[in-house]
């Protein structure tokens, strides 16, 4: 029993959460980012709810020796803030602001087949591939 079904279950629950939260509606995301206009704070509630639950789970893992089906929990988060983090987050934010889409909602929306998603997802994959070719494969030391 290696518990692999839980990967699928987690993905399914994630998709339900994204749809219910409104994150699959790009206009709703744009309304959250539109602080100067008619601001919709709903996304704050999405993140607040998600972070609160995850924070509790994260604390719980300190009392567990290991995950149920794996050998170890993830490494503690690094604290070093570098140019890649800042630039990467900045670029991601611009793309998110331009489209109202980020990776999770875009993937969940594939099933509905809207043209905006069908253009966005391949472009996103291309952007990821570009990073892999330009940055990851060139790295000779751990950066």
């Amino acid at each position: 029993m290696n518990g692999r079904i839980w990967f699928v279950v987690a993905g399914l629950i994630f998709s339900v959460g994204l749809v219910l939260s409104g994150m699959t509606q790009p206009d709703k995301v744009s309304a959250f980012l539109d602080f100067a206009g008619r601001w919709d704070p709903s996304l704050l509630f999405v993140m607040g709810g998600a972070v609160a639950v995850y924070f509790v789970a994260q604390r719980l893992t300190r009392r567990l020796r290991k995950p149920i089906f794996a050998e170890r929990f993830p490494e503690p988060p690094r604290s070093h803030i570098d140019a890649k983090l800042v630039l990467g987050a900045a670029l991601f934010g611009v793309g998110w602001g331009l489209s109202g889409l980020c990776p999770g909602p875009a993937l969940v929306s594939i099933g509905a087949g809207a043209s905006v998603v069908l253009w966005f997802v391949p472009a996103m994959l291309a952007g990821m591939g570009l990073h892999h070719v330009l940055v990851e494969r060139r790295r000779t030391t751990d950066g």
Partner: protein, 136 residues
């Protein structure tokens, strides 16, 4: 339209999903990381299973509740492609997105994730401001 209850409920489910992934298998539910690792061919087994659930859930929703997804949009095709490229490249460069940094990272009280989240919300807001209040 402000939707506090469904947004909170959705957020709680997102948190539960990420918690489930963490406690069962010690993995982080950062979608950009899951995708990026898949493209790089790392640990394909669990990533593909998770993506099957994620995309499959969307397919099911499209069948039973199609109004959850937009049918039309105001975005130009060039703009959407540029946005996709920026999201894809930026999330890999910054090592996270709204779920990876915004949920899991902040949930772990990670300084990197808190900074990243503030930055992408700021540049996102700046982009929307320019698009809505300057250019149009």
């Amino acid at each position: 339209m402000f939707t506090p209850y469904s947004s909170l409920a959705g957020g709680i489910l997102i948190g539960l999903s990420a918690s489930l992934l963490l406690i069962t298998h010690g993995r982080i539910a950062g979608i950009s990381g899951v995708l990026g690792g898949t493209l790089a061919g790392r640990d394909l087994g669990w990533r593909i299973l998770f993506l099957v659930g994620l995309v499959g859930g969307g397919v099911l929703f499209a069948l039973i509740r199609p109004q959850s997804f937009p049918t039309s949009h105001a975005y130009s095709t060039v703009g959407v492609i540029a946005a996709g490229l920026l999201v894809g490249f930026g999330t890999r460069l910054g090592n996270g997105c709204t779920s990876g940094h915004g949920v899991c990272g902040i949930g772990r009280v990670s300084p990197r994730s808190i900074v990243a989240t503030l930055i992408f919300i700021a540049t996102g807001a700046a982009t929307v401001y320019v698009a809505r209040h300057v250019l149009s």
